[in-house]
């Protein structure tokens, strides 16, 4: 594979920055406060990239990203919590089997629904719900059977290694769980118009928050402790972990968007009717983007849960759900580079510098200045701070200009262009 110099430069700078941060952290030059902010910046980058895929590239105004983030965070946290505090793999095995079987159920019902032509959305939705409930029930039962053998097998490994394995699986499963929920939720609401979709997804975020507030009573997860906040989650997310995930996400999104499938996703944003008329299955593209975006949110949630070792439902308040939206808008819709830069800026400036620089009493002023800034920005630069700017590797490269093979075409077109005046 040929790599041009700009791409090489991009990679050297990116990897250099990641290693630099790690070195500074290891030497103790970068305080834990700033290290945490950098990690949060990376996590926010992943959430916002997911949202940018849904909104910036696919054109679906979603406020539900934060709900999926919460789902990923709590699911992953529960798995590692049970592993470290209860010394068993119950969280891991049950979540694994539920995710697997629900995935299978969704696939089977989707095939059934596509067979039954002309099924109305509500009926289809009812079938999906029934299928998922059955699958989840079987998943819980099967998972419970596997707890003991897996716990023993994992305990045989060195404790640190087994924790890292459980953590990695937990983060991924959190992402998959969020993706499955988003698929189920997207079925009815993705067909709605943009505003209705926005408000329905906002509703989703609020529902998730309310459920988390009552997670110990209504949902029956006592370790989540409802509105008191979940504590005792192992702090496993290191800078290198988040950086690795961020890099992988960037590569995946970049490759996807530079492909035919990516263009199909973008065409839905550009003009839905024209996209349909060009043979693009708009519903499928919307679902794909929504599910993938939510997967990224869930993934980021899992990473976030293991940064502070503490989760509280208020973190997933719907007011905060505007944060990724604002990051995406600031960074520029449909710009990967812009989103990443905006996410880090958001973390470092808003949470970092402003907190330090402004005197204690002026804490609340942050949120007065912040919307004002947003307003000025929307009025003066609605295309985002970075507009359509992309770093070299992320930029679309135009293919070589084309030289027509036959003269026949050219001559005709010239004739067309220099048609005689009048009849």
């Amino acid at each position: 594979m040929k790599i041009d110099r700009q791409t090489l430069g991009f990679w050297i700078v990116l990897l250099g920055l990641i290693i630099l941060v790690q070195v500074l952290v290891s030497l103790g030059i970068l305080s834990p406060f700033w290290e945490t902010l950098l990690k949060i910046g990376a996590v926010m980058s992943i959430v916002s990239l997911g949202l940018n895929l849904i909104y910036g590239f696919n054109g679906q105004f979603s406020l539900g990203q934060w709900g999926f983030y919460a789902i990923g965070a709590y699911a992953a946290a529960d798995v590692t919590y049970r592993w470290t505090q209860m010394k068993n793999a119950s969280g891991l095995m049950i979540l694994l089997l539920v995710v697997l079987l629900v995935g299978v159920a969704l696939y089977l019902v989707a095939r059934l629904v596509s067979r039954l032509r002309g099924l109305d959305p509500l009926s289809a939705f009812a079938l999906y719900i029934i299928g998922v409930l059955i699958a989840a029930y079987i998943g819980v039962q099967l998972g419970s059977l596997l707890i003991n053998p897996v716990t023993q097998a994992l305990s045989a490994l060195p404790p640190n290694l087994s924790l890292q394995i459980v953590y990695l699986l937990a983060v991924l499963l959190g992402g998959f769980l969020a993706a499955e929920v988003s698929y189920l939720f997207g079925l009815p609401v993705l067909t709605l118009g943009s505003d209705y979709f926005g408000i329905a997804t906002l509703g989703f975020t609020i529902i998730v928050k309310v459920l988390l507030d009552n997670s110990d009573t209504l949902l029956g997860f006592e370790e989540m402790k409802g509105a008191r906040g979940m504590v005792g989650i192992p702090k496993v997310t290191s800078w290198l972990w988040v950086a690795l995930f961020l890099v992988l996400v960037i590569i995946m999104l970049r490759n996807l968007l530079h492909s035919s499938h990516g263009r199909a996703i973008i065409s839905v944003r550009e003009d839905e009717i024209a996209a349909k008329a060009m043979g693009i299955d708009v519903g499928q593209q919307k679902t794909f983007a929504f599910v993938l975006g939510s997967f990224l949110a869930g993934l980021a949630g899992g990473l976030y849960a293991h940064i502070n070792g503490f989760l509280h439902p208020n973190t997933f308040n719907f007011i905060k759900s505007f944060d990724p939206m604002i990051i995406v808008v600031f960074g520029g819709l449909g710009s990967i580079s812009g989103t990443i830069m905006a996410a880090f800026t958001w973390a470092l400036v808003l949470e970092g510098f402003l907190r330090i620089l402004l005197p204690a009493g002026f804490e609340t002023w942050r949120f007065v200045v912040y919307p004002l800034f947003l307003l000025v920005m929307m009025l003066l630069r609605p295309q985002g701070l970075f507009g359509g700017f992309e770093f070299p590797y992320l930029r679309q490269v135009l293919p070589k200009p084309y030289t027509p093979k036959t003269q026949e075409q050219l001559s005709l077109v010239h004739a067309v262009e220099e048609a005689p005046e009048g009849d």
């Binding site: 105004f61 039954l116 032509r117 002309g118 099924l119 109305d120 959305p121 509500l122 009926s123 289809a124 939705f125 009812a126 079938l127 719900i129 009815p188 609401v189 067909t191 709605l192 118009g193 943009s194 505003d195 209705y196 926005g198 408000i199 329905a200 906002l202 509703g203 989703f204 609020i206 529902i207 309310v210 459920l211 507030d213 009552n214 009573t217 209504l218 007011i319 505007f322 939206m325 604002i326 808008v329 009493g361 609340t364 002023w365 949120f367 007065v368 912040y370 919307p371 004002l372 947003l374 307003l375 929307m378 009025l379 609605p382």
Partner: protein, 369 residues
């Protein structure tokens, strides 16, 4: 195709029976659950219904502002809930700092006390309405008007920004402070209970078990809301500005060509919607006497859901949707779990959008250009 030729499966699909069965089961479960509780204690059930009506009327006033603004500029005015909050605070200051509600009694001591209180309360409401109208027109001029031709989403994000600004500006210690403040009503609360006829409940006394309680707050909320709704209906149906509003909602460029001052109409729509929200703010605060800077968020969202439920853009729809939301909220809070009421509200929204995406009174399919 004749009906006889269809297989059972095809008939199920064509009649949408799977979905209908699913809904029927859901409805049955709810009726079973709520109905069982209602039979256990009918007085509690009626109490919930009355609380729901009280809440529903407040939501109706807020929802109207959403639906009108959306109908005319296709913008979900997120800041609307904060205008509502502003209205509540204006009345709070008017009553507790300036004793505005007492002016009729002070100026005309010969006035019968009841009339004095009514006029005083109405003037507090009127002040809130006017202040909210001015606030909304200012917001419209500064934040929304420059974005009229921008993508709709820019305006929506701006609305979110305005909403945040109003909230956090309000949270500043020298404005509304970040704390709950006890609200002083412009009138004394009087409570009645219904059990073998209507009886006055003395202050501090307990109502006998099995009775339904209501207060003058309920009466005031219903009366003021109906008054405002009738007034709004008159304005929209009978006056010139109402006609201009309907025309602008239908087709902006053509309205402009017909000589309608579209910007003026939009500004007026914001003002009318905001004044209704202001009134709602006062009524809400008298019913639940606490004010805080974020008090507008959840009622605002609920009212928006009500507007969507009724069919956004439709005024009767907003009213009916709001009454349904009020009932759904108190019933879910009373019979399921208090925190779940927000979740229930949005579950209803999602279900309605699934079954009838344009809402109860929404327009049917129209030919696209």
């Amino acid at each position: 195709m004749n009906d006889e030729q269809l297989t059972v499966l095809q008939r199920m699909i064509k009649g949408k029976w799977i979905g209908k069965g699913f809904l029927a089961l859901l409805a049955l479960a709810i009726i079973w659950w709520v109905g069982g509780k209602a039979i256990q204690s009918p007085s509690l059930f009626f109490q919930q219904i009355i609380n729901g009506i009280q809440l529903g009327f407040v939501y109706a006033l807020i929802a109207l502002g959403y639906t009108m603004v959306y109908g005319i500029v296709r913008l979900i005015n997120f800041a609307h809930g904060d205008v509502f909050m502003f209205g509540a605070f204006v009345s709070f200051f008017a009553v507790s700092l300036f004793q505005l509600h007492l002016w009729p009694v002070q100026t005309f001591p010969s006035l019968p006390p009841l009339i004095g209180i009514v006029i005083g309360t109405l003037s507090v409401i009127a002040l809130s309405m006017v202040s909210c109208a001015i606030l909304a027109m200012t917001i419209e001029r500064i934040a929304y008007k420059p974005l009229r031709d921008a993508p709709r989403i820019s305006a929506l994000i701006t609305a979110i920004g305005v909403s945040f600004f109003l909230e956090y500006f309000g949270a500043l210690p020298f404005v509304f402070t970040p704390n709950f403040i006890t609200y002083k009503r412009p009138f004394e609360i009087v409570t009645w209970y219904v059990k073998d006829g209507i009886h006055r409940l003395e202050a501090g006394a307990e109502a006998p078990p099995g009775s339904v309680i209501f207060s003058n707050v309920l009466i005031i909320i219903i009366l003021v809301s109906i008054l405002l709704l009738v007034g709004l209906n008159y304005v929209v149906r009978r006056t010139k500005i109402g006609k201009a509003m309907r025309a602008t909602a239908y087709d902006k460029p053509t309205s402009r060509l017909m000589g309608i001052n579209v910007d003026g109409v939009i500004s007026t729509t914001f003002a009318i919607g905001a004044s209704l929200a202001g009134a709602a703010g006062v009524l809400y605060a008298t019913a639940y006497p606490q004010v805080v800077f974020w008090m507008g968020i959840i009622p605002g969202l609920k009212a928006f859901v009500a507007a969507v439920l009724g069919g956004i853009g439709s005024i009767p729809g907003a009213f009916v949707g709001a009454l349904i939301m009020g009932q759904a909220e108190v019933i879910s809070a009373g019979y399921i779990s208090t925190p779940m009421r927000d979740a229930v509200a949005f579950t209803i929204l999602i279900l309605v959008l699934l079954i009838r995406p344009t809402g109860i009174f929404g327009e049917p399919e129209r030919e696209k250009a």
